[in-house]
Each structure stands twice: as C-alpha cells, then as structure tokens.
Amino acid sequence: MTPKARKNKRLVGLFLLGCVLFNYPLLSLFNLETMIFGMPLLFLYIFTGWALLILLAAIATKTRQ
C-alpha cells in the first residue's frame, strides 16, 4: 500500500468517525441540560470533538512521503 493510499484510508476512517460523532444517537448522549467547567455540555462536546478531528487529520496527513 502506497503512503498516499494509507493516508487516504486514515482520512476516510476519520470521516466515518466524524459522521458518527456528529449525528444521532451519539449526539443525544450529550444533549443534556448540564454545565461542565461552566460550559454547556453539548457546546463543549461539539467543539472538543471538532478540534480532535482536526488534530487527528493533521496527524494523519503528516506522513513522510
């Protein structure tokens, strides 16, 4: 498998992860009227998940060619 194909495989995996993270039913687990660290839970969840996804994408695309 070429480095590019491997990279693409990882990114497709991240895409699927993102689809699961930002859709029902996982979303409903965090759709609660709760504050964590003074932040609303869902707000915190979405931004954390989003940032995590970006970080993983940055790592995934950083293969040495």
Partner: protein, 925 residues
C-alpha cells in the same frame, strides 16, 4: 469620525487595496513567481465559503435556532476529510479535460452535452442569485448601521432608499469591475486567476480577524469570559421565566432554546440533513468549485488544506454563541435584528475602531463571495449557455469574425454585470423579507442537486445523460415547489393560501408538508423530497436508458481517471483527422494568434514534431486542440467546433466498446481469450484422441470377439462334419469351445461393465470386505490362466488389516484384472508374480509385481485412460481390449482409493492400488 463620507472612504479604500493585491498577484504570476502556490493560501481561499452569512448570519441563526448553526461548518469539515477521495479526483479530471466550471464538468461527463451544461447553468444561476443578493444586503445593512453611529437604527426600509443613493449599488458596480479586471483579463485554457486568489485569501484573513476581534471584545471585555456569559444568560432566562427558576442554577429555558437539539425545526433529523447539505455545498457551490478545483495550483496543497480549512471554520465559529448571548442580554426586547449583533455590540460600547473593523470584515466576507461567485457563474453562462447557442445560430457576422476571443471576453464581462445587477435587483425586491440564513440554506438545498450527477459521474460508469437530466430536473422542480414558490408567498407575490391550504386547497400538496410529511423543517423537508426524486430519477433513468458512444468514453475517462495516464488517452476514442490549417485557424479564432502559436509549438516540442512537414493533424493533435478549446469555451462547445473541421466522425458505439475493452482490459481480456483458446484447442485435441482411440477400441474388441468365435466355429464345424472323431480329440475340442465361449462371455461382461460405470448406472453393493479373501478369490479365478503359462505366484502378506468397506465383487474384479494383466506380459515358464499386502492405520495397499516386459515411462500415465493400449512394435497388438485398467481405475476411484503403476521397460512392472482403511472414508461420497 464615523461619518458617511469617512465610511465610504474606508470602504472604497479597502476595495482599492483588493485591487492592488490582485494586481500584484497577477504581476507575480506573469513573472512566473506565484505568491499563491502554497497550501496556506489555498486553504484561505477555500474559506470563501464563509460569507456575510457566516459573518453576520451565524449569530442570527444561533439566536433563532441554537447550536444548529454549527452544522453548516461541521459538514465541510467532514467533507474536507474526504479531500483525497473526492476533491482530488475532481481536480485531476478537471485538469486533464480543462474543465472550468461545474456545468462544464457535468456536461463533459455525460457526453459533452450542451443541454446538460445549459440546465446546470440555469439551476446554478437561480440558486446563486439570491445568495449574491444576500451579500449585497449585508453590505448595505452594515453600511446603514455604522453610518448612523452612535445611534442604533431599529429597522431599515431598503425600498425607501433610492438606488443611486445606496452604497451597496456602487459596491456592486465596483465588484463587477473587479471581477471583470481580474477574472476576465484574458482567455486562458486553464482559467486560473492568481491575483484574484491572492485577494480572496487576504479577505479571508480580514474576516477571520474581524470575527475574532469582536468575539474577544464581547466575551472578555464586555463580559468575563465564556463561563460568565453562560451564567448571566441563565440568570436572565430565569428572571424572564420565573416558573423555571426552581429547576437549578441553570435555567432549562436557555438550554431548550440555545444549547440543546430539541423541538420542532431543530430535531436530530434536521441537524443531520443540514450537515448533509453543507457537506455537498462545500464541493458543489460554484465558487467553491472555482477556488478548490479551477484555481488549484497543485494537488498536494490538499494535504494541508484538509485540516487547515476546518481549523479556520472552527476558529470563525468559536465566539458565535457568546456574541449571540451578549446580544440577547443587551437587547432583551428583541428590537434589534440578531443578524446585526456582531456590528451593533461594539457600537453600543462606543468602540469606533472595532465597529469599523467589523464593518470591514463584513464587507470582506461579502465581497469575496460575490467576486468569486460572479466569475464562476459568468464562465458557466458564457461557455454553457451563450456560446452553444451562438455557435449554432446562422449569424453571418459571426462566421466572418476572425478572432472570437474578444467576443468571448465581452460575453463574460456582460454576464458578470448581468449577474450582479440581477443579484441587486433580487435584494431590492424580495431579499428584504428574508433573514440571511434562509436565503443561504435555500441556495445550499439547490446546489445539493448537483451531487447525484457529479458524484455518480465520477464513481459510477453506468450514469447516463438521460439519467443526469431527469435527476437534475426532478430535484429542481421539487426544490422550486417546496422552497422557491413559498418564498414568493413571503414576498406577497403568491397568495398565502398556497402555503396554508395547499394549491387549489389540496392538503396533500402543501409545499411545507408535501404528501403529508411532518416533523421536518422547511429546508430539510425540501432536501429530503428533492434528493429522493433526484437520486431516484438519476439512477432509474440511467438504468433504463442506453448510453451513447461518447458517454461510454467519457464515463470511462472520468471514473478511471487515475488509471489512464494523462490526457493522451482520449485520442484513442477520437479517430478523426483534420486539415492542420483548418484546425489552426479554429484555435486562433478562439484563443488568439499568439497563444495558439505558443500552445502548438509547445505541443510540437513535447513530441519532437516539425510543423513544416505536417499538413494533417492526427487524432492526438485533434483531441489536444479540443482540450485547448474546452478551456476557453467549454467542452460541449469545443466538441461542436472541432467536429466542424474534423473529417471523420467519432467512432460508433461498437468500435468504442471494442477499444475500451482493448485499452482498459487489454491484458486481462486477452489473457482470458488466450486461455479460452488454449482450453478449446486442448479439448479439441482430446476429443480427436478419444475419437481415434474409440476407433481402435472397436477394432480391438471386434478382433478379440472374432478370435474366439472363429475357433469355436471351426472346431464346431470339425465336430459337425466328422461325427466319428475319436474320444480324446472330441473332448479336447469341446474343452476349447467351452474355454473360448467363457472368454467371450468375459469380454462382453467387461464391455458391459465399462459402459455401466461410464454412465454411472453401476449397482454398488457395499459390505464389509476382508482384503485377504479378495486376493484369494482373485488368485483362484485366475489359476487356470496362470498355470497355463506356468507362472509362479508368491505372496508377501505381511499384515492382516481389519476389514474395510467396499464392493467385494468389484474389488475382486480389479485384482483379477491386475493378475491377468501381469500374466499376459510375463514370459511363459520364467514368469513370476508377487502379490504384496501392506497396511497402515490409514490405508491398505496391494501391489502386483511381475517380471514381464515393462511399460515405457511415457505410457505409464496413460494406461488408465479410456481405450488406451500400450502397443509394442516388436510384439504387435497386445492382448485384451484395454478397458480392464480403465474399469479398475473407476472402481478404485469409487472407493476413494488410488491406483498407479511403477515400471521399468525390461524389468517388469508393479501395479498398486491403495484403499482407505477406515470405513467412513471409504463410504462417504
């Protein structure tokens, strides 16, 4: 400081700066030192996605719909992750085929169809005009707001402002000028505009900086950070709704309204559909196609853009909710439109500079979108709408025109002005009634209609032109019915009854609850029905309709773009040749003399050709010319033009299919063919062999039958004519007759057995069989034969294995066969046969060894085959029919055993067979 004049000065100063950047970018590009050829600029240019809708509208959407505004940015984030799977493929295809717009892409994929290109263009224009209007509205609103600083106006009536007194009108004209200068500077085969991209990237920086500035100001200067704001918002909500204050420190009202996904119009379903359409929008919005695909310098830039662009989206959204809360706290009575909070909040705090910067941020978000979108649309309108019509019209002046490039540029420039004025007109008439977001989402829902034809086109070869047209039209019709017509209701053009009671009072056809579908908000309702119809018709019509030859070709070239090496392959499908001067003058008409010469000499250099000797352009050159033209006037028009000078038409469907097979599957296909041929030849050879063997077999059998018959008959005749023959002789003659008839019976039995086995009609009688008994029986029944030749039989029965399962009589038959064979080939008197029995826990093996003539190695593998006899020239025809061993092999095969021979000519042979020792193995079949 903030007076109308000053603001105007700043606005136009900012746009002048854009001109300067674009000019510099173009200069550097001309000098060959690109400033945009790096992934950061590429990612920033993708951020043209964030328009005034993001800049002002996100806060508005957050106030109305809570966290739902994030879906518009989560979708693109997800799609960016598929950058290498989808974007790269689209970029590669577009580069190879010189595709410059989304209309051209779809038209080209489905057989360079002008109809399809036209449909896509019209849909795109209809979908995008309101979106452009939205930007102009934002600019105008922003200007009106800030020009009254420090007052804060409550509402505007755009219709009361004269057009010539509206700053948005002048800005629209300036943007048209910008787009004309930097978007249609010259006709280029690649349609890349470096200066433009540089300016767009700069605008992306400005709008992000402005958003972050106001976000930080509101969150950390007006309030004390996120936690403080959330707390205040909660307390405020408690005050407003005293009933809910018991439920804890944080009001559930604020959660219901802003911080959770709940209730009608904000369900998980709506959430997912918003994510879905924004995923599609990031690819199929014409401006995104322009910056991501057409303006892409290097595919590798995707690598960083895949995460930089989502990072940009995250950054621009992080302060949306705080600003929204702050606005709600500041204006609890709802007197101020939430779409303007971003600008109004710094104004309330009397922060002139921040307000001015935010205003500029809004301008940058709006202008960036307007510029790229109008250029993208003008390319489509020119190449896929106007040119195809013009080229077909019998206008004489056109025919006499030596240089079309001027005409093309004029058409594009006019389209730019046309699109912008149309956008402005929309804003003045209808746009006033709508919030920023609803207009944007309507556009998203419409461009999503391109997805089936586009994605189907690059991943599925089965999609046809008919399918694409049906799908697009179906989706468009549903979108019009469920979103566009109701928007006219809002503007008062159509009666309210249309929405509330359905057309002609038919409840089932109510545009927001089509066929009674409930629980969706308007946008997701429309997306659901239109995508269902679109995908359904696209696939359905594609399956039903047959593709034309050129659709086959294009489908293969698009779907397998990475398999074909570059552009060269298209010439395989285009057999035409053209007169070189004709072709050249065609190119000159559209590209101009200088660029035609440059392009052709470049082509010649690469292939080491010399123009001096060339009169005819071959297929390769013809398709190269077609691609050059495609860059300038679109693939569909290019095809029409090239066809007018090419001598031969393109290939018929059969030929294309053949060529496709050859090029695409040449190796696999031909190998398979070779294999099949070889198999056929082999089968044929075997049949011929069998035929020959059968002839020999019949002659052998008849010979074998005749010999005993002859002797029986002659002896019987002797006895008949000589009744007084003496006793001894009589006895000996009848003895021979009996023996010969036995031989005949045996022979006939063998033939019958053989026939039975071959036709699988043998009745097998499976019992428990003692191997030793079989040997004894076989030896007993061949005793006469053996004794006649005076051959000795030795036994080496080392083991006495337990009984096995099998057909006793058949196994005896095998044994008899082997012994009589051995007898046949042994010399009389000196002959010696050894019967050996060995066994293990797995199998039983019997060897019959003789010291006869032996069998040559090349015959050893054949003697068990049908009708095979080993003929030996020195001994003539052998005894027997040659079916004894075949029958033996079939019997042993039935018992799951194995039979073989080892032999050395002159030293005798050993025939062996083995049988499984276990009952189960022998019985399972």
């Amino acid at each position: 400081m903030l007076e109308t004049g000053g603001i105007l000065f700043v606005s136009f100063g900012y746009i002048s700066l854009l001109f300067a950047i674009a000019y510099y970018g173009d200069k550097r590009a001309d000098a060959g030192r690109s400033i945009i050829s790096n992934p950061y600029i590429y990612a920033l240019s993708l951020a043209v996605y964030c328009t005034a809708w993001t800049f002002y509208g996100s806060v508005g959407l957050a106030v109305r719909g809570g966290l739902g505004f994030l879906t518009i940015y989560i979708g693109p984030t997800l799609m960016a992750l598929l950058g290498w799977s989808i974007w790269q493929k689209i970029i590669r295809i577009s580069k190879i085929h010189r595709i410059t717009s989304i209309a051209d892409f779809i038209a080209s994929r489905y057989g360079k169809s002008t109809t399809l290109g036209g449909i896509v263009t019209i849909i795109a224009v209809i979908g995008i005009i309101p979106y452009i209007a939205l930007q102009l509205k934002a600019i105008s609103t922003g200007f009106l707001l800030i020009s009254q600083y420090p007052e804060i106006s409550v509402s505007f009536h755009f219709s009361e402002i004269p057009i010539l007194g509206d700053s948005a009108f002048y800005i629209a004209l300036l943007l048209a000028l910008f787009a004309i200068l930097f978007g249609t500077r010259h006709l280029d085969a690649t349609e890349r505009h470096e200066g433009l991209v540089a300016a767009i990237a700069f605008e992306s920086i400005v709008k992000l900086a402005a958003t972050l500035t106001v976000g930080i100001f509101v969150t950390y200067v007006i309030h004390n950070g996120f936690g403080d704001l959330f707390q205040k918002a909660a307390e405020y909500a408690d005050l407003k709704n005293p009933l809910s204050w018991e439920s804890g420190s944080v009001s559930s009202v604020i959660f219901d309204k802003y911080l959770t996904i709940k209730g009608p119009g904000n369900s998980y379903m709506d959430w997912s559909i918003y994510v879905f359409i924004s995923m599609l929008a990031i690819i199929f919005l014409p401006r995104q196609f322009q910056v991501a695909v057409v303006e892409n310098v290097n595919e590798e830039h995707l690598n960083k853009a895949i995460w930089l662009f989502p990072l940009y989206l995250l950054a621009i959204n992080i302060f949306v909710l705080p600003v929204a809360f702050s606005g709600v706290l500041q204006f609890p009575d709802g007197s101020i439109d939430a779409d303007t909070f971003v600008l109004v909040l710094p104004m309330v705090e009397r922060q002139q500079l921040i307000a001015l910067f935010v205003y500029l941020g809004g301008v940058s978000a709006a202008t960036g979108m307007v510029i790229v979108e109008t250029i993208a649309l003008s390319t489509m309108i020119c190449n896929d709408l106007v040119m195809p019509v013009l080229l077909r019209l019998p206008i004489e002046t056109l025919g006499r025109l030596r240089d079309y490039s001027g005409l093309l540029l004029t058409i594009r420039r006019c389209s730019i002005v046309f699109v912008l004025l149309l956008g402005y007109a929309y804003f003045r008439t209808i746009g006033e009634f709508y919030a920023l977001v609803s207009i944007g989402l309507m556009s998203f829902a419409l461009v999503a209609q391109f997805a089936p034809a586009m994605l189907g086109g690059i991943f599925w070869k089965g999609g046809t032109r008919t399918g694409a047209i049906c799908g697009l039209l179906a989706g468009f019709v549903i979108w019009t019915y469920t979103l566009f017509l109701p928007s006219l209701v809002q503007a008062g053009i159509i009666s309210q009854n249309f929405v509330t009671q359905g057309p002609f009072g038919i409840e089932l056809l109510k545009p927001f609850q089509l066929f009674g579908l409930q629980h969706f908000n308007r946008i997701s309702h429309s997306v659901f029905w239109s995508m269902l119809a679109n995908i359904g018709f696209y696939i359905g019509a594609s399956i039903v309709s047959g593709p034309r030859a050129i659709e086959h070709t294009q489908a293969a070239l698009f779907v397998d773009v990475f398999r074909f090496s570059g552009a060269a392959s298209e010439s395989h499908f285009w057999r035409g040749t053209a007169n070189l001067p004709d072709l050249k003058s065609l190119l000159i008409r559209f590209l101009g003399k200088r660029r035609t010469d440059a392009a052709l000499s470049d082509y010649a250099d690469k292939r080491k050709l010399s123009w001096n000797y060339l009169v005819t352009a071959d297929a390769d050159l013809v398709s190269h010319a077609e691609r050059l033209l495609a860059g300038a006037i679109g693939s569909a028009s290019a095809r029409v033009m090239v066809a007018s000078v090419v001598k031969e038409e393109s290939l018929g469907i059969e030929e294309v299919l053949n060529i496709l097979d050859e090029t695409q599957q040449v190796i696999a296909y031909s190998r398979e063919l070779e294999k099949a041929t070889a198999e056929l030849q082999e089968a044929n050879r075997r049949l011929q062999d069998l035929d020959r063997l059968k002839d020999e077999f019949i002659s052998t059998v008849t010979h074998e039958l005749r010999t005993p018959l002859t002797s029986v008959r002659s002896l019987a005749e002797i006895l008949h004519t000589n009744p007084d023959i003496d006793e001894d002789q009589h006895k000996s003659f009848t003895g021979i007759i009996i023996k010969e008839s036995e031989r005949l019976t045996r022979l006939i039995n063998q033939v019958l057995d053989y026939e039975k086995i071959e036709s699988a009609q043998m009745n097998w009688v499976i019992t428990s069989v003692d191997i030793k008994e079989i040997i004894q029986d076989a030896v007993a029944s061949t005793r006469q034969l053996v004794e006649d030749k005076n051959i000795t039989i030795d036994y080496e029965l080392n083991d006495l294995p337990p009984p096995i399962s099998g057909d006793r009589d058949r196994l005896v038959q095998v044994m008899v066969n082997l012994i009589s064979n051995a007898t046949k080939f042994c010399d009389s008197d000196r002959g010696k046969i050894v019967i050996r029995l060995t066994s293990s826990h797995k199998q039983v093996q019997i060897d019959v060894q003789d010291n006869g003539i032996g069998i040559k190695t090349e015959y050893q593998s054949k003697i068990f085959d049908k009708f095979q006899q080993v003929s030996d020239p020195t001994r003539g025809r052998p005894y027997g029919t040659g079916i004894g061993l075949t029958i033996s092999k079939r019997i042993i095969d039935f018992h799951h055993g194995r039979i073989w021979v080892e032999s050395k000519p002159g030293h005798g042979s050993t025939f062996s067979f083995s049988l499984p020792a276990t009952r189960e193995a022998a019985l399972t079949r």
